[in-house]
Point group: C2
Chain length 228, copies 2
DNA sequence: CGTACTTTTGAATCGCATCAAATCTGGTGG
DNA sequence: CCACCAGATTTGATGCGATTCAAAAGTACG
């Protein structure tokens, strides 16, 4: 399912929209991270499209570009010893693999999980802009710190024993006021929670039966009556 | 076991060594992160000592200081709904809670797990130094990125199902060439691995019996014969 | 020497992973 | 439009492994 060639080779043939057509102001409504990019760096961006399953880069590839997901979703993953992919990051409307900016080679694989459009920035120009643009740099540091907090929450969640506790923790930490609208399939969510999809289905069922959770399509609501 | 007052109040009575006595060059041998600190910021540091169990700050406290662990160990933790502490970070010879620099209030508790000495930097001066000192800023960004990679490895580990797989992953990713010297008790390590301490003991036993792991005190060695 | 904590082993229980299978869903091509 | 297909969703049955409770032995520290 994965593309056999790296994105750096592929995209030369598939760059579809000239960059001039990019409506930057309206872009930043859906992709707040785009607002950070200074104008000089914007002009060096290449806009690319990718189909589901395509590979952006692989473990060991040199870090030449920084990717910003405009629409769709990109994922960072690694294979465990049994060959199962473990998802390390999921980005919708933001950067992917921010932490690779200061290393030479990637430590993970990055793929696109649905039809997506992205911006690619040359890594060297990206680093220079961070040096010369204080506002950009502050925003970037803030992104890194925010990613750290998110990952700590993920670790906290994965160290909970029960499936129901993980669901509860996810909704409370990733949602707003006990409500969340899932942006992925349940199967994929199960993997993010470190559960088999069957275990997740059953946990959701139990929580509904206990009157603890309300499910309407992709919108999940924790009932205030039994919130911890 | 936790100290009833915040560290900001406590330390005024317990600052033991005048800062002048700090031997910065020799310090950086054990605490590489200290080498990043520009001289101007060094002079604003307060050196403090803390006994095992003392609290540095609590969830909700305003972020006034940045802590650097010189000797000993500091931990970032949160309580789950059952009242069990979950360790989110463990720092020996480095910064603690780096990601809190750009937020107003802490999201975790920080405690000292053994007799330790630390440096406290005023958060505002720390932020100014990051603005004005390019080398310091680069080092800091690199620290943040490194913390992200470490947390991703931790998430990857916690999403492995078997106890033996987690032990194996820990030694391979935190150790060097399949060898690691534990810097904590096994009980504490078990919690970091998301396991009960009994499960960890049994996993270690099974791995030894299988000739897969060699244990000599705190030094664990994965046998090359059966490395994945 | 006593105390608190870690280390270690045992036994019972519970929950999740796994395998299996049926249904539902969205998207594709005839 | 309908048939079809791949993948997601959902439920059931089974086994294993981790948690839990219990207890003994070892260890560090005052």
């Amino acid at each position: 399912m994965l593309c056999a060639v790296g994105f750096d080779q592929y995209d030369r043939n598939h760059m579809d929209k000239p960059l001039e057509r990019l409506d930057w102001p309206s872009l930043t409504a859906n992709v707040p991270a785009a607002a950070l990019i200074p104008v000089g760096l914007r002009n060096l961006a290449r806009q690319v499209s990718a189909e589901a399953g395509m590979t952006l880069f692989r473990t060991g590839d040199p870090v030449r570009s920084i990717y910003l997901v405009l629409h769709g979703e990109a994922r960072l993953s690694r294979l465990d010893r049994h060959g199962n992919a473990i998802i390390l990051q999921r980005s919708r409307g933001g950067f992917i693999a921010e932490a690779s900016l200061d290393i030479r080679n990637y430590h993970c694989d990055a793929t696109v999980s649905e039809s997506s459009s992205l911006l690619m920035f040359p890594a060297s120009a990206f680093r220079s802009a961070l040096e010369s643009e204080p506002a950009f740099r502050r925003g970037w540091q803030s992104q890194l710190a925010s990613e750290i907090r998110k990952l700590r929450a993920q670790c906290e969640r994965l160290s909970l024993n029960g499936a129901e506790d993980r669901v509860n923790h996810y909704i409370e930490s990733e949602g707003t006021n006990g409500v969340i609208c899932l942006d992925q399939t349940r199967k994929s969510w199960a993997a993010e929670l470190g559960l088999s999809h069957e275990a997740l289905y059953r946990a959701l069922r139990r929580m509904q039966d206990a009157g603890w959770l309300s499910v309407e399509g992709n919108q999940l609501t924790l009932m205030p009556t039994r919130r911890s």
